[in-house]
Symmetry: C2
């Protein structure tokens, strides 16, 4: 099996030479003791052993050290008003529900009502029809459906397609801030580092359309107290959105909420790069001559 995807010998050599240089640099600069090294070995071992098909503690470690956010930034250059990428997180799953535009992703009682509506657009402002939009969020207790051991079906997640004019809309719930899993070695690490383990409230979204670069992002309602100190460094200024409070029976009915219900409205503009645009900007931003 290939340890590294699509890698040439030259690239591989470069990566390992660089890895060894930086690893040894770290050990030298900290003058790491044998006990500290052994603690690190045992810690990494436990991180690996905490992983299951539904839990990826090694990604979580990468997340809290800011490595995931850095890799994501390097690989997804910001250009013009194209929607920024951010970290995928450990809670995406392909086991989701297909819904039509205007339907809901969350079952009743999972949280306060929110309606998400927007348009998928090109950088020139034209509509992108038929884009596949995957979205997922935690419930109001801060848990994703996959975190429940008795999960029988997807909840608070769904997949829909943008309409001919690029528009989409769905009922969801107001996101809440929640802690990343604190019962494993990464949770212990944060405690040891005197860091909290909260993520600001957010709604995940992954958008794909033929000819366009796949977008992995999330939207963060403004005002959350953890927005400046996200434990996984996922927040970007352009991804912070304002939620509108809607107290209007007609608007609620139009969107399929119960009569008399008020709800929050999240309006989104999703701007995608074509594959050609993406390749061009990625090459322009490449830091290394040895980049694949």
């Amino acid at each position: 099996m290939a340890l590294l995807p699509a890698s040439t010998c030259r690239r591989l050599r470069f990566i390992f030479q660089t890895l060894i240089k930086y690893l040894h640099g770290f050990v030298n600069e900290t003058d790491l003791t044998t006990d500290e090294w052994m603690a690190a070995i045992q810690f990494l071992t436990r991180v690996g052993q905490t992983c299951t098909p539904l839990r990826q503690e090694m990604i979580l470690l990468s997340d809290v050290l800011g490595v995931s956010a850095l890799v994501d930034s390097l690989n997804n250059p910001v250009e013009g008003d194209a929607t920024e990428n951010t970290v995928l997180g450990p809670f995406y799953t392909d086991d989701t529900v297909h819904i039509a535009n205007g339907e809901g992703i969350a079952s009743e009682g999972k949280g306060d009502y929110m309606y998400v509506e927007g348009q998928v657009l090109t950088t020139e402002g034209g509509p992108i029809p038929g884009a596949i939009i995957d979205t997922w969020e935690s419930d109001s207790d801060g848990f994703y459906d996959t975190q429940y051991s008795n999960r029988s079906h997807p909840d608070c997640r769904g997949r829909l397609r943008s309409a001919d004019d690029g528009s989409f809309g769905f009922r969801a719930i107001v996101p809440v801030a929640y802690p990343i899993p604190g019962d494993g070695p990464v949770g212990e690490l944060l405690l040891t580092m005197n860091r909290h383990n909260m993520r600001p409230s957010h709604l995940h979204m992954m958008v794909e359309a033929p000819g366009y670069h796949k977008l992995v992002t999330a939207f963060y309602p403004e005002g959350c107290k953890f927005i400046q100190s996200d434990s996984v460094f996922g927040v970007k200024k352009s991804l912070v959105v304002k939620l509108e409070q809607i107290d209007d029976d007609d608007e609620a009915r139009k969107r399929g909420f119960p009569v008399g219900a008020s709800f929050k409205l999240m309006r989104l503009k999703i701007v995608m790069l074509t594959n050609e645009q993406f390749k061009y900007y990625r090459a322009k931003n490449a830091k290394s001559k040895e980049t694949v």
Copy 2:
């Protein structure tokens, strides 16, 4: 539980700041792709999951990247003719056999005869009596006893004490070169890197005596073809020893070998630092002001 032993807040902060600096430096310099990062995450996860109470693949990874050897060197300064430390390796176990001086550690048929004899000494050349000497080696097939799933008792390992004049001696077998475990992710890594996975032949030794700094070392018979390319970077020049060929009935009989047997003789001089000497040299060699 403490993630880091005996660490102050200040030390901890320094270690993590430095870790993050070097990790991000590596990712930046290689301009790591998302696919490469994901391959690394999956690789590290598999390394953790390959570990069992009898197999430590994460240490093996540290070994083949030269990190274990570097940590060992930093923590065990070379001074005068004190015996040099080297990597512990993954095959030490406390489950061993206590023997008297002159007895054997290997059962019959495990390999060619070798007798090990030497003296444990201070840096001034005085004897260190009662030093506890732990020793272990692979059999002539290149496997340690702990690598056999049907292991019922320790073999090719033993524990003895130096006599009043610091001397010790025991029957063993001639060490052979052997591959480090190649059936796990670290084996795949070496293949990918086009590196062999052999260790030159060696005999492990760990020596402890009250008031002296514990020595973890190994001795490498000269002439092994892998001595210049040890896959875990454990060889040091001062630890390369000459084996003498002994074809003398009296010598064989004296050491408990069968009449007519010829054997190799490994002569060792083991020089230990006192705890005070060790502390002094370690502080003198410290690279970092933040060292514990």
